[in-house]
């Protein structure tokens, strides 16, 4: 700025600094650049290729065109069962999870005693190894003799068959998945604590009651959290694996009602060793996840409210 000489000096220094930044940036990011290529990009492309082949993981893949995909939709009733179970699980469990997590966070947000204790208790199931949780539930939900049967027996009833019959197994798993919403409760709670108090004060001045404050202030401010919860839980629900797998050993018992998409995919890959077929399933799942996520994303402008006014 001062003299031509220093400006020139500066610009030369900036140029070399720019190069230095690029080198440093690449060096610091290099573990992840390698990781991204080796553990994400290459496998994603490889599984796309496998999905068009017959491949048992030992011999070289043989190109078979789209026959895996055709087979899935035309000649595999287990696949259709798995799709149905997974969609059922997602459609029923996600709205319930949103309602329960939001509701509990609302109650926790009131300045009450023992808030930390409640929060800890609600969070516990998300910390426990899924194996331990699944086995305890299996024990509790033993029909007619488990803990869950006790209230029914008290009234002389037999109670539902829970995980042992097809019509109850799906709703039971939805119910069990609702135990694991501790993280979401904390997210909503953090969101609630960010609601500016003056919005409520203004509503009070206007004479708004509890319900209209909830509808017109709390919910709009929390829509970004609901949005985040929705997007992440779609992926989570479509990947539902460990708990049903542990409970049933992956058999899908009873009558394939607990055969979820991830379980069937895993069995195809590692039990039946039809890895091309399983890769086709994986890619269908990927495309489906992308489409659903994009739809939710596109819908966001209709219902998600950003306080800052911009994205």
């Amino acid at each position: 700025m001062a003299t031509a000489l220093t400006t020139e000096n500066l610009s030369r220094r900036r140029l070399s600094q720019g190069t230095r930044h690029t080198i440093n940036g690449l060096l610091f990011a290099s573990p992840w650049i390698v990781g991204l290529l080796a553990f994400w990009i290459y496998p994603t492309l490889a599984s796309a290729y496998y999905s068009f082949t017959k491949y048992n993981g030992v011999r070289n893949p043989q190109w078979t065109g789209i026959s895996n995909y055709v087979e899935l939709f035309t000649n595999d009733s287990e696949f259709l069962d798995a799709v149905y179970n997974t969609v059922y699980f997602a459609v029923v469990s996600i709205p319930l999870a949103i309602i329960f997590a939001f509701g509990l966070a609302l109650m926790l947000n009131a300045k009450i005693r023992a808030q930390v204790v409640y929060r800890t208790i609600y969070f516990l199931p998300t910390l426990v190894p899924e194996v331990a949780l699944a086995l305890v539930w299996l024990f509790i939900f033993t029909p007619h003799s488990g803990l869950i049967a006790a209230p029914f027996r008290a009234f002389g009833m037999r109670g539902p068959c829970w995980l042992t019959c097809a019509e109850w197994a799906r709703p039971t798993l939805v119910l069990l998945a609702l135990w694991i919403i501790g993280q979401q409760i904390i997210l909503y709670l953090a969101g609630l604590q960010d609601v500016p108090q003056d919005l409520y004060d203004a509503a009070d001045v206007d004479g708004a009651n509890f319900l209209s404050k909830f509808r017109n202030v709390t919910v709009p401010i929390l829509t970004p959290v609901i949005f985040f919860h929705l997007v992440t839980s779609v992926i989570g629900a479509l990947n539902f694996f460990a708990i049903p797998y542990i409970m049933t050993g992956g058999t899908g018992f009873p009558a394939n009602s607990t055969l979820f998409y991830s379980i069937y995919l895993y069995k195809n890959a590692f039990h039946y060793l039809v890895m091309g077929y399983a890769s086709a399933m994986a890619w269908l799942l990927f495309v489906f996840t992308l489409v659903v996520t994009l739809l939710i994303w596109r819908s966001a402008r209709l219902w998600v409210f950003y306080a800052g006014g911009e994205e």
Partner: protein, 298 residues
């Protein structure tokens, strides 16, 4: 109300104290109602743990007794020593710990380096890299599962801990995102000043950024440790030798063709769960902040 106030001297102070009293009563009613909602919910959330603990102290004959027994008598403490000898419990615990610690150390080092690059060094490709990083969060793990298995098989790594540890030394997308967001909140002037003093980027990373980021690093460490401690599908795919098993796989050995040893199984479950609950109890604040951080839009 009107009658009451006419009996009392209508001073301003009195009026105020009555209003305070009404407010107090209202508050008490409200908090009672809230507790009436929260307590049953807490009971439901605690139920699996209570039943786990209760069963772990029961003799076999009481498992399915009706009406159910919550506090068994006598307490069968022997389930605990029996549980650790019935299977090689401590071996599995050591294996789980080894994998979790090694993966956590790796993810901390690599993710913080990458996050530093994305947040603190201005270089042309960094936005693309950041978008790719977020994109991997949308990718179902099944898509990469099979090719990765083939790659690790070709390396001769199947049936070893390496596939469960090594990938974590190359960074984790969620943690890179978290740490990047945190690093961005630290004033750039600190880096600029250090650069003018001639400090290298590595030095700035090590002696300026890391000391200021302890809470975020702690969050990453806890999240990763618990994720590895709970991991089920990783060991399921890669480990077949019993000596390498983690607790998630080893716990099956309480089940035999004659049925499950529920007392031992629950005692083991208590021992697996307890360390994590204690960890959470002492590090609550870090946890809560960390989860809140994941919800912040990038």
């Amino acid at each position: 109300m009107a009658v009451e106030s006419s009996q009392l001297p209508p001073t301003l102070a009195d009026d105020q104290s009555r209003r305070l009293l009404i407010k107090r009563v209202k508050g008490m009613v409200r908090s009672t109602l809230i507790h009436a909602g929260l307590i049953p919910a807490a009971f439901v959330f605690l139920l699996p743990f209570l039943w786990m603990l209760s069963t772990s102290l029961k003799p076999d004959v009481q498992f399915y007794s009706y009406p159910p027994v919550l506090i068994p008598s006598p307490l069968q403490w022997s389930n605990f020593p029996d549980a650790v000898t019935y299977i090689t419990f401590f071996l599995y615990m050591r294996n789980t710990l080894s994998i979790a610690v090694l993966a956590t150390v790796g993810v901390l080092i690599s993710s913080s380096l990458v996050a530093y690059s994305l947040a603190r060094i201005p270089w042309p490709g960094r936005n693309i890299l950041f978008i790719l990083t977020l994109a991997t969060l949308m990718l179902p793990f099944q898509v990469t599962m099979i090719p990765l298995f083939i790659v690790f098989k070709n390396f001769g790594w199947v049936n070893s801990w390496l596939p469960l540890i090594v990938p974590h030394w190359f960074g984790g997308a969620l943690y890179i995102f978290l740490l990047r967001q945190f690093f961005m909140t630290i004033p750039m002037e600190l880096s600029e000043a250090a650069r003018i003093d001639g400090a290298s980027e590595l030095k700035i990373y090590y002696s300026v950024l890391l000391p200021l980021s302890k809470p975020a690093l702690a969050t990453v460490a806890i999240f990763e440790f618990i994720a590895r401690w709970r991991d089920y599908i990783g060991p399921l795919i890669y480990l077949s030798d019993q000596e390498l098993y983690t607790l998630s796989l080893g716990i099956y050995e309480y089940q035999s063709q004659y049925g499950a040893e529920w007392g031992l199984l629950m005692a083991a479950s208590v021992m697996i769960t307890l360390p994590i609950i204690l960890l959470f109890f002492f590090l609550q604040k870090t946890f809560v902040q960390g989860i809140a951080l994941t919800g912040i839009k990038g």
